[in-house]
Amino acid sequence: MLNKFTYLIAFFAFNASYGWAQLCNNSLVGHVVDQHSGDAIAYAAVAVEGTNKGTITEEDGSFVLMQLCNSDKVLHVSCVGYKRAIINLDSFNGGNLHIQLVKAVSTFDEIVVNANYLSEAQQATKKVNSEDISQGANQNLAGLLEAVSGISSLKSGGGVSKPVVHGLYGNRLPILNNGIAQSGQQWGNDHSPEIDPLVANTISVLNGVDALEYQGRSLGSMVLVEPARISALEQLNGQSNIFFESNGRGAGLNLQLQQSAPGLAWKVNGTLKKRGDQHAANYFLTNTGVEEANIAAQLEKKINEQWYIDAYLSSFNTQIGILRGSHIGNITDLEEALKRDVPFYTKENFSYAIDAPRQTVQHHLLKLHAKHLINSRRWVHLTYATQFNNRKEFDVRKGDRSDIPAMSLTQFSHYLKAGYTSLLRNNWRWKAGLQFTFIDNTNQPETGILPLIPDYNSYEIGLYSSFSKKMDYWDFDFGLRYDRQIQNVAAISTTVPREILRYNNLFSSYKLALQAKNYLSEGVYWLTGVNLGTRNPEVNELYSNGLHQGVGGIEEGDSTLKPETGIKVNALINGQWWHKVQLETDLYYQYIDNYIFLNPQDEIRLTIRGAFPVFKYEQTMAHIYGADLNLSYLFSSQLKVKGQYSYLRGHNISDNEPLIYMPSNQLRFSFTYELERMAGLENVTIEGNYQYVFRQNHLQADQDYVLPPDGYGLIGVRMSADKRFKHHRLQAYVKFDNLLNKAYRDYMNRMRYFADDLGRNAVIGLNIYF
């Protein structure tokens, strides 16, 4: 395995010997990209044959070789997961050397077995890459992540879903947009993360020590959404993505343009999506359309050898329709809705109209980042980010009030970070940092309704430090972080006359993570980790008070809640053998003390709108454990068969009853047939897949209004092919989800009370890389 330091040391050793190498003053500038996706490859080793000269590519794939002699004619470029490229410089006549690497075993998923320092996203084993994102352009963030084992999503119909990792979501699973904790209304189960996945290059799940350096209230895991660095190409380049889908008669367009002009690199990424009413197997899901318009811009500039700056600006704007038949008045309405086969208000005809109930959300992010190289072994990152989140939810209301939001919240946040990385002797790395987050959350009084959650300001300051040690066959990571949070809450009383209630909270939270990784042989490693940490109660858990329309219940917070404490242990074995078999397993156990959950009360509260069940935020002792298993087998270089199984159990230990809204166990099979070349096309792929979701049997009948839905199996098919032209590449794909148009309901979709899940969907798409 090539070691980054060997190269760095070789490089500096060579510099030192400059004195007698006067004749060798050629330099070479280039960059390394993935041949298939065009993405930059970071940390690839570039070596000059027959010498000890060499370097490692930057995060954007670029590299510089200096003091080359005329006799230095051959370059070796290598990176884990790619075939080694040997480049003869004889025919190269200056400029920027463009090097493309081909995936090593193209039909295997990328498996990270490098002992070098990789970015957090590269290290993550649970991730979605840019090709999957491009071919899943019709899906939202959570939908894309669902393909990864151990990840599911909590949905409120087709337009709203949030990722669930090992049973944790919402307040317990922060989503990092470009490294910044998404600042919005994550507490709501019916609030989707406000991120356009098409802006991202990778979506990955961070655990343990990797997640420690991010400020976000988690119990260990986080979802990181990262855009690609700007490619080093000097000419204008980019990609365009267009798709159509049959279910909802939707279409989307994404355009990405980028250029690395001397001195300044830029990238612009825009997405437009529109979809009308979706269709269950047997009827339209009236008022489930979605509209989305997003734009993001990136700038990168190298000021000098020591300072690099970059800026990122993104704007996400959406309007989402909520199934009309799911809007209920009280518990009697819910009981009536449960008895129906077809939801109330179901229309015979398709429509693009989005009426109440609906949500409109805007989310804007600005991030400024500077990297300062003190020397080649020590550097500093400085980051400032600000976010604005504006969420309005419209209910069906009397008068003309359906155009007045029933909930209207704005959230401003500022974030500051200073991070320090030092490469110490003996392959030790030390990272440390300081972060500050300010959040201002305000209800807009236009609603004419008492807000469900109060206004607040939150100030949070955090410190982290982590150590990593790389050895030949072992990696050790250890880290800790501490956060202190001040919550300044101003609520409105539910008693008459209305008055202002103030609460001031001071919370501390800490995290501790340990991890060991051992390489048994080429391509095989095991890893084990322990995470200990606390999570402070969120404002909704402390002070919610009122009727939560979507669930037909009264929710009450508890201002005396204590922080949750969680400890998670996991063990993972990943490996491939004989270039035939690939195995990925992940076993985990998490114990959570003071686990905060909404507990149904015996009380049925009588109001003028009828009777409502009361739910209170309470704490208990709970544990969640499970296993994710993935096994792939290559029958030939063309045919791959893959099986996935995820098992999860969540249990409330104190009350000896199951935890609600825990994902069902799942089984997935797929076969992929891939031809590198056929009839002038490349990478011709046909995939068939079958997914079986088991019934959630770990639940008591009195824990829900209805029994959990039955298990179901869905069949899907996907076909794609590339066509390469001189200056661009086309990729076309067709896929069918729920091919047999099966009528089913999913336990993790809150619309299951009212309607069936989505019926057949055919998607056709075209990606152009130029």
């Binding site: 809007h327 209920i328 008045g329 009280n330 009697t332 309405d333 009536e336 109330f344 208000y345 300062h372 003190i374 500093v380 400085l382 400032y384 069906v396 209301r397 009397k398 008068g399 009030r401 500022h414 500051l416 200073a418 500050f436 300010f438 201002d440 305000t442 209800n443 009084p445 236009e446 609603t447 004419g448 309704i449 008492l450 807000p451 109060p454 206004d455 607040y456 300001n457 100030y459 300044n488 809450v489 101003a490 609520a491 409105i492 539910t494 008693t495 008459v496 209305r498 202002i500 509260r605 009588l606 109001t607 003028i608 709108r609 009828g610 009777a611």
Partner: protein, 182 residues
């Protein structure tokens, strides 16, 4: 390194200066809220009116006033809806009347022989239920439940006769009175 430190201190100072207590929230004007339902029953042949009322200020303890009807008597019934959070109280029944086509009251009774009939109509000629005629038969007792549905299927079978089965819509009001007929 010194430069980095200065930039950092500057950024902390900017944010530090903007920190202050959260401003008082603006108390929303809860114009649409219904706190009170008053059902006044006036006997056709003269005599004292019976008033049933349900007042819920959102504090979990609604005030319910019930009454006693006379046997074999015909009453005209009138519903009044109020928002008493606001001062002075707002009459919501006017709004329901104006949007009669989007609303309908349903009267469900477990009292033997008690009948409620609609005496008002919306612009489509379908009942609203703000005005009713109530006829009692023999003496007895039971529950009278009054339900207001928003956006029901007013044309669905049985709905215009007061049968809620096919009505759908969202419940804006659902109150139950214990009523004696003597």
């Amino acid at each position: 390194m010194k430069k980095v430190f200065h930039i950092l201190m500057f950024m902390v100072a900017i944010i530090g200066l903007s920190s202050c207590d959260k401003d008082d929230p603006v108390i929303p004007n809860e114009g649409e809220l219904i706190t009170t339902l008053i059902y006044t029953l006036t006997p056709h042949n003269g005599g004292e009116s019976v008033v049933l009322s349900f007042k819920d200020m959102g504090m979990g303890q609604p005030e319910v006033v019930t009454g006693t009807l006379k046997a074999n008597t015909s009453y005209s019934g009138a519903i009044r809806l109020l928002n008493e959070i606001e001062n002075p109280a707002i009459d919501i029944s006017e709004e329901v009347k104006e949007e009669g086509d989007e609303h309908q009251f349903f009267y469900l009774s477990t009292i033997e022989g008690l009948n409620v009939n609609y005496t008002d109509v919306d612009e489509d000629g379908l009942p609203i239920g703000l005005a009713t005629q109530v006829v009692t038969m023999a003496a007895g007792s039971g529950e009278l439940t009054i339900i207001l549905r928003h956006e029901p299927a007013k044309g669905a079978p049985g709905v215009s006769d007061g049968d809620i089965t096919n009505a759908g819509g969202e419940t804006d009001i659902e109150v139950t009175f214990e009523v004696d007929v003597e």
